[in-house]
Amino acid sequence: MEKGIKRSAILMVLPLVLFFLILTIFPFLYMVYMSFHHYNLLEWKPPQFIGLENYFNLFKDKGVISSIDFTLLLILIALPIEILLGTFIAIFIQNIIGERFIRSVLLIPMMIPAVVAGVMWKMLFNVEYGPINYFLSFFNIEKIPWLGSSIYSKIAVIIMDIWQWTPFIFLVLYAGIQTIPQDLIEAGKVDGANRWQILSHIEFPMLKPLFWIIIILRLVDILKLFDIVYMTTFGGPGYATHSISFYIYKVSVSFGWDIGYGSSLSVVLLIAITILTTILIKTMRLWELLEL
């Protein structure tokens, strides 16, 4: 009996394991192999071994540098704003009339397929007819070429990222606050703590793990950023809004078909994401959430 159960248990995870071996592990090894080769689909030549050359080229590539710059900009500006704003809304709407309504409605920006979000923002940011420039004209601000100038297009992507992801941070923290036992807060009140003290000594410490999850998930998402950039700025003007994923797409598919070089970029991206994921798994002991 015991043995039969064990066999069934293994048979049950087998489809998942096989599927991922074939669709993630094998392709990954193939990609590492490709990253040591010169392989451009436009040249109609078989892959040619060039050792580490692709990796050396990374350091000299202007595109890599500007996409890292842009990524850092998102991490240093967009992410802190999202966290502050999301936290603020989560605390602010506690006990307000219409709490549930707001919670549901704020789900929309997060859930809308990013391509559709791209369509709407492209309309809003339109130089000549866009509502954003119209609102700004009330303050005597002249029409801003949102998607056409290298500074404003960066700001535009930051605004879109804030729009898309603040709701996620809000929802996670809001749900987290709901799970804080009410008697803890009551006890604090009895001891004479004011709203701010309750927040900083009871609520924030309990939310700390959630902040940690949020930060890592958002870092990974920023590295994956693609759809909305494709739909609005298409990485431009020039290299201004190339996210890392967008740059890899451009090198290996849309412009260059340089699969070898694209693979080496992807390997580096994968390593970065694996490090972040490992930190998340280890520090949060994620398996404990599954009672493993």
Binding site: A9, M12, V13, P15, F19, L23, T24, P27, F28, Y30, I89, F92, I93, I96, I97, I102, S104, L106, L107, I108, M111, V115, V116, G118, V119, M120, K122, M123, L124, E128, P131, Y134, F168, A175, T179, L210, L217, K224, F226, D227, Y230, M231, S245, Y249, V253, I259, G262, S263, V267, L269, I273, L276, T277, M284, L286, W287, L289, L290, E291, L292
Partner: protein, 295 residues
């Protein structure tokens, strides 16, 4: 003075007063988050002469469904993107989404049951699933593109379904594990004692008990597949297999864009996602945070 005294009078009124103040601030926040959606919706129902105008038109003079039916004339050089053109993309999205969702549920519920009950693979397997969940789509799809090219299955439903499964299976496995953990083990053990096999127990006992969770994960897999862009973009090249997001992506890069029909197509893409995610909020959040949030 009198009014303030009345509003701020007893405790209930004070609460109402604070709520009103908070709502005024909140309206600004909601405006920022909801105005873009409003703009998409009204543009989809605007007559063509009102797509471009200065000042922009916030309330259309009349509402029309021409943008959906494809009767709007657009203007010279614009691409017309009516529902008629959308049909093949809609079909592809539905087929790919539904198939992904069904296969995803089969693979992930089996694995989740095994992991939840027998700790198969332990921490290592669980961590592996998380890593796959975090994979950047561009890195998944590049080598897969070459492999599928050799297998000659580029630009087919199958190609897109495969990569969408990479996206949805880790997500749904993770949530289902925590879902199965919530079902008392004693139930399974009672079934084993009565002589049922693991498979029978799973199919006749556990599956019916976890129907809400399974339904939620099927829906979320469908939504994820429905909205996915990058991988489908690389693996497809014609209306034979391109999904709705690719349709939107193709028309937006044109020089002169017919905003009305494009917004209409955007609504068709968006509505199922919004509806389902309202219904599935709680599972959604649980999945996105690896179960750290339960509510």
């Amino acid at each position: 003075m009198g009014i303030i005294r009345i509003i701020g009078g007893d405790f209930m009124n004070k609460k109402l007063f604070i709520s009103i103040l908070k709502w005024i601030l909140l309206l600004f926040i909601l405006f920022f988050f909801l105005f873009p959606v409003y703009w998409l919706v009204i543009t989809a129902f605007k007559p063509s002469q009102e797509w471009f105008s200065w000042p922009p038109i916030f309330i259309p003079s009349y509402l029309t469904i021409e943008n959906f039916t494809g009767q709007s004339r657009g203007f010279e050089g614009s691409l017309s993107s009516s529902i008629e053109n959308i049909v093949p993309y809609l079909r592809n999205s539905l087929v790919i989404g539904l198939t992904t969702s069904i296969i995803c549920i089969i693979i992930s519920s089996l694995a989740a049951y095994s992991i939840a009950r027998f700790k198969t693979g332990g921490r290592r397997l669980a961590s592996w699933i998380v890593s796959i969940r975090m994979l950047p789509p561009i890195a998944t799809v590049l080598p897969v593109y070459l492999i599928f090219k050799n297998l000659k299955i580029l630009d087919t439903w199958l190609a897109v379904i495969f990569v969408h499964l990479v996206l949805t299976i880790p997500f749904s496995t993770w949530v289902l594990i925590s879902f199965f953990n919530g079902i008392p083990k004693e139930l399974d053990e009672a079934a084993y004692i009565d002589g049922a096999s693991v498979w029978k127990t799973f199919i006749y006992l556990i599956l019916p008990l976890s129907a809400p969770g399974i339904a939620a994960m099927a829906t979320l897999s469908f939504i994820l597949s429905w909205g996915e862009f990058l991988m489908a973009l690389i693996l497809t090249s014609s209306a034979k297999s391109q999904t709705l997001p690719i349709f939107l992506g193709r028309y937006i890069t044109g020089f002169r864009i017919a905003w009305g029909p494009l917004a209409a197509a955007g609504i068709v893409t968006m509505v199922p996602v919004i509806v389902f995610s309202f219904i599935m909020q709680r599972y959604l959040l649980r999945g996105l945070t690896f179960g750290a949030v339960k509510y």
